[in-house]
């Protein structure tokens, strides 16, 4: 009886601890975001650093983004053809593939891959800098690590995402074209014609770009925060990297629903 009660109380205490830790974590994140915001514009005094990060974050993610985009397009082409042929409406294959990619799959799948490929790398890099006391060394030399290390990586993520998502969608539409028109024999002029008639540059493409900008900012923020606040041990680095991928994937999916409801709902 007594032991049973203790186990219950222990569990309650653990739950309370977890809640406190989560609250502290989000509070730290808000504070960190505030500190970072003040350094975002000053970071532009050294554009070379941002260009370096565009390379490390954007260019190095290109291969995985392009290959995935191609495969997603191929699958969309096959599945779409399968469904549309039941309604005798395979002429609409192009617009179905293009709208799914530009509105949803382009930004979201790019963001998920981006979190795994670039977000984890940023976290690990900053966390290792912290562990090896490079960040403290910078502070000793009166160099602000937030401005020198963190802000450029954040900007790199914000700018890379829409460009990567655009390339993803374009490669996907080409993949759908290959399956639909070259392999399955959909009318090529209908494939392009329907895309042009139905896709609205302002509504569809612009909303896709807004989505990817938001995702880029969220992934960038989570990645640099987790790196900067990592426990300075090898276990801490691995935990921070995992948390970046998990947190940014969940935030991307949740935000995508909110943004979609705001842009296309009602």
């Amino acid at each position: 009886m007594n032991g049973h009660r203790n186990a219950f109380l222990d569990g309650l205490a653990l739950l309370g601890q977890a809640a406190m830790a989560a609250a502290a974590h989000s509070g730290q994140m808000v504070l960190f975001t505030g500190h970072l915001l003040w350094r975002l514009l000053p970071a532009w005094t050294r554009p070379r650093l941002i260009i370096q990060e565009l390379y490390a974050i954007g260019v190095l993610s290109l291969v995985i983004i392009l290959i995935s985009g191609g495969f997603v397009g191929l699958v969309l082409g096959l599945q779409g053809y399968n469904i549309l042929s039941k309604f005798n409406a395979t002429e609409s294959l192009g617009v179905m593939v293009a709208l799914s990619l530009v509105r949803e799959l382009g930004p979201v799948v790019t963001a998920l891959l981006f979190a795994g490929r670039a977000g984890s790398a940023v976290t690990a890099e900053i966390a290792l800098m912290k562990t090896t006391e490079q960040l403290s060394a910078m502070e000793m030399m009166a160099v602000d690590p937030l401005r020198r290390v963190v802000a450029p990586r954040f900007w790199g993520a914000v700018f890379s995402m829409p460009l990567l998502a655009g390339l993803f969608s374009l490669v996907g539409i080409a993949g759908g074209y290959f399956i639909g028109v070259v392999v399955l024999g959909v009318d090529p002029a209908s494939y392009w014609g329907q895309i042009q008639q139905q896709m609205q540059p302002m509504d569809d493409v612009l909303n896709g770009v807004i989505k990817s900008l938001v995702f880029g900012a969220v992934i960038g923020l989570i990645a640099v925060f987790e790196g900067f606040n990592a426990e300075p041990t090898s276990l801490g680095i691995s935990r921070a990297t995992t948390r970046t991928v998990v947190l940014s994937s969940l935030s991307v999916l949740g935000l995508d629903f909110i943004l979609t409801a705001w842009m296309f709902g009602a």
Partner: protein, 145 residues
């Protein structure tokens, strides 16, 4: 350098998605043009297919209104390998499937003279507008009672 190329490629991809490539698709069709007048073209658009016995033989190149008769004038480009369409061929607008896009079906006539570049198909049947059919049916029902 590489970063510049990456940024340019990304912006180009977004622009390609935004732009309307107006001539894409029609430029590949070469052949002779025919016109046809319809009371109502329904959902027919530029680049809609022209079919004969279900086979695509051409494309709609553009659609305008005749200022005198207020009828829709559809200009179509027929592939030059099908240059023996009889002069009394019949053009009708149909819908592909239940939800599909609309197209023009040409039913060949029996005339020995053939349609030439710039000719007009005189016998046409307009698109079937579902609401009109239903209202006609309902009025007929009401009139019978």
């Amino acid at each position: 350098m590489v970063v510049g190329a990456f940024v340019l490629a990304g912006i180009a991809a977004l622009l390609v998605l935004t732009l309307k490539w107006s001539d894409f698709g029609t430029s590949s069709v070469s052949g002779y043009t025919l016109t046809a007048e319809f009371d109502n073209i329904g959902g027919l658009t530029d680049r809609s297919p022209i079919k004969m016995a279900g086979v695509t033989i051409g494309r709609v190149s553009h659609i305008q209104i005749d200022p005198n008769t207020f009828e829709a004038v559809v200009t179509m480009v027929i592939s030059s390998q099908y240059d023996n369409l009889p002069k009394d061929s019949f053009a009708s607008i149909y819908t592909a499937g239940l939800l599909g896009a609309q197209y023009i079906e040409i039913s060949p006539g029996g005339d020995t003279k053939v349609l030439k570049n710039g000719d007009k198909i005189t016998m046409t049947q307009s698109a079937v507008i579902l609401e009109k059919v239903i209202s006609k049916f309902l009025f007929n029902k009401a009139a019978a009672q």
